[in-house]
Symmetry: C2
Subunit: 262 residues, 2 copies
């Protein structure tokens, strides 16, 4: 089908109760798309490399940089699909506004977590310990039950750091990355060592979520939902155990399964 090229197959360990099966899972591609405006590299976005021309046009119009289709002289996508070149008449004020202030909206990563290019300067995570799969299953149940703001508004993400002594540190926010930063910040304030801990997050595991785990040397990251292909690659490369679709007694272990005692 037409969408095949955006899908990447990974071999995972699928855990159902105490049974482990090797399984082929399908993940979505996540790439950095660079937008060049009148020859100048203007911005980059982590996305699926599909409909790049529509993406660029919609974005530039959302930002009022371009007022109408008539302002566009030429649009061109590079062969590898990772660059889109737009030549257009632009609103100078709006493009200044784009750079006026760096704002992280809900779900938005920035800085290193948004600017990786395969050069994160953190050593491969070699921390070794064993955690029972059963513990993960029971903790994720509590994780979802005890989300007060979510239960009231349906509009927040949650992060939890589970220390090996059973202590948990939680935080909620409208943004996935904010929730993680807040939970980690709380640990730091309390002087807790997170190098032997598990990070539970309520949202999808796209690249910037996994990078937070890498940066803080948290060896295991767990979600009830899906990772992107880039998320899996980063976890693989940096020694992070990545678990997705953790629901009830089931979970998919995408990388470094040696830390999980089934």
């Amino acid at each position: 089908m037409e969408n095949d090229k955006y899908l990447k197959t990974v071999i995972i360990d699928k855990l159902i109760g105490n049974e482990v099966k090797e399984f082929e899972d399908v993940t979505i591609d996540e790439v950095r798309l660079n937008l060049y405006l009148n020859g100048q590299k203007t911005i980059s976005m982590m996305c699926i490399p599909k409909d790049q021309d529509a993406h660029a046009i919609g974005f530039l119009m959302s930002e009022n940089v371009i007022s109408s289709m008539k302002d566009i002289e030429k649009i061109h996508i590079s062969e590898d699909g990772l660059k889109v070149y737009v030549d257009a008449k632009i609103n100078k004020d709006s493009i200044a506004n784009l750079y006026k202030e760096k704002t992280l909206t809900s779900g938005c990563g920035g800085g290193i977590t948004g600017n990786i290019d395969g050069n994160i300067k953190v050593a491969f995570n070699q921390t070794s310990f064993l955690i029972k799969a059963n513990t993960i299953s029971s903790e994720i149940k509590i994780f979802y039950k005890e989300s007060e703001l979510y239960n009231l508004t349906g509009c927040v993400h949650k992060a939890m750091i589970y220390l090996l002594d059973g202590q948990t540190i939680t935080a909620e926010d409208i943004g996935r990355h904010n929730a993680i930063d807040k939970a980690i910040g709380k640990c730091k304030i309390q002087g807790l060592d997170t190098t032997k801990s598990l990070l539970f997050v309520s949202g999808r595991l796209s690249s910037e979520m996994v990078i937070k785990s890498v940066m803080h040397k948290i060896p295991i990251i767990i979600s009830r939902t899906a990772p992107t292909y880039l998320g899996v690659q980063i976890a693989h490369k940096h020694g992070i155990t990545l678990i997705g679709f953790a629901r009830g007694k089931r979970m998919n272990i995408y990388t470094h399964q040696g830390r999980i005692d089934v």
Copy 2:
């Protein structure tokens, strides 16, 4: 309870089948938190104004701007909770990296959509037409059924523009904002007029999603999930009909219900 101060009550029209009831709904607060590092305004983040100190510390450590708690000399939150001041020994390279390149990660808005300060220069949306609530209910069902990449990977958002002649334009991406930009871009490329249309999105309606509806003069925005309080405020102020929790024959109409024929 402790979390009460992050909740904002709004009066909405709750639609169940053909019955409309006025109802008090609870939404989550969404604010711009400004981070000052050694006296310099460094970045701002859209978030819940809670645990601001942990948020700042976690963020700065995620970005490797601060290496350890020892590097922090002072941390202070303004009385209104909207500013956090950190005095610390910082890694100069990492802070340069933070500004090196503007990257929008999945779920991230930027530019105008991230830089509103109550001064969006778009006229109040006065476009008037009536759409049957039944049409919305049946369209949202199709919207979710026909999401191929989501069904395969569980890791994408979707946006759909529904034109009044029944035509639909859809796009999928790992980021909510990307999916909207792509769907709008497709309409622009095809020369379709979106001023009489409805925007369906799969994710939550935080501020930057609603701003895209404002910028493109799309009078109605609809989601199966929740809006933030700021999202509701922006819709109210700019003449956008905001509908949340659209599921089956139910939906919550938060603003400008005059366009909905029940």
